[in-house]
Amino acid sequence: MKATVTVMLKNGVLDPQGEAVRRALGSLGFEGVEGVRQGKVIELDLSSLDRAAAETEVRAMCEKLLANTVIESYRIEIA
């Protein structure tokens, strides 16, 4: 089973890297990019066959290590 965790800065937290990417896109001539937020994607290969148990486990991983919930939010997809 594969879990994909997407970690993003929370809304309201300024993202200096996203802002730099937005400006770079503008200087390359790409118009109309009003905002860029940069995050990270973490893929996990899990031995679990139980989807619900896997989701609970991955949520615990996010809370403990994968995301810093002071500044980041996370989304889990299990496939």
Binding site: Q17, L65, V70
Partner: protein
């Protein structure tokens, strides 16, 4: 007074921190990240700067979960003193011992220079040897020193007089120019600038000595 300096793979300034503490009169032992316990009788844990675990995932995130990390958290919960410098500050926020988080510098550049700081409170063992409002000069060397805390947390920090140091001029985008904060019991201090790099005349400045002297003398009094 017994101090333990924690060493992670990728730590630097750990020996500088040990020298500064020794010169202030502390008995210093180094503690390896795989150790499950601190040296017996540790009064102060110092978490050094550097790039622990290569700054992988987030600065300080993996160090915070290391075996010695649990011992440092237990030490703080017992009311023990903890000092985190630079990456050490990031580790302490990741452990939840200090509020807020350190994000990428607003200008995206690694900043390596001496910065003027204002001592925002003299009400702690670490800052008691300074005058409130005093200007001091400590080197800074970081890429992720942009302090963030939500408005409620900031209001609490201000209300409880827990902002320890601020940058005299905006440096890295930190909210309210915060350079260092204290825990609610005032025994845990995290700061991005390096007092241990301003603790010997050979460093070009000795403003940092008072910080180490303050915390070591705390134990001489008791």
């Amino acid at each position: 007074m017994k101090a333990a300096v924690v060493v992670f793979p990728g730590s630097n300034c750990d020996r500088d921190l040990a020298v500064a503490l020794r010169n202030a009169g502390a008995d210093v032992t180094m503690a390896w990240h795989k150790d499950a316990a601190l040296p017996a009788g540790t009064d102060l844990v110092a978490v050094p700067g550097g790039f622990s675990f290569g700054d992988y995932l987030r600065c300080g995130a993996i160090a915070a979960q290391s075996p010695i990390g649990a011992a440092v958290q237990a030490h703080a919960r017992r009311g023990g003193y903890v000092l985190g410098v630079c990456n050490g500050f990031q580790v302490l926020t990741e452990m939840g011992l200090l509020p807020g988080a350190l994000m990428r510098n607003a200008g995206l550049k690694f900043i390596c220079r001496t910065a003027a700081l204002r001592v925002a409170t003299s009400d702690s063992a670490f800052t008691g040897s300074f005058e409130q409002g005093q200007l001091v000069r400590f080197p800074v060397a970081h890429h992720d020193g942009n302090y963030f805390a939500d408005p409620e947390t900031l209001a609490r920090l201000r209300g409880e007089d827990r902002i320890a140091f601020t940058y005299a001029d905006p440096l890295n985008g930190s909210v309210e120019d915060i350079a260092g904060v204290l825990s609610s019991n005032r025994r845990v201090l995290g700061l991005m600038p390096h007092p241990e790099r301003a603790a010997d005349p050979g460093h070009g400045g000795t403003d940092g000595q008072a910080l180490f002297r303050g915390v070591v003398e705390q134990f001489a009094v008791v």
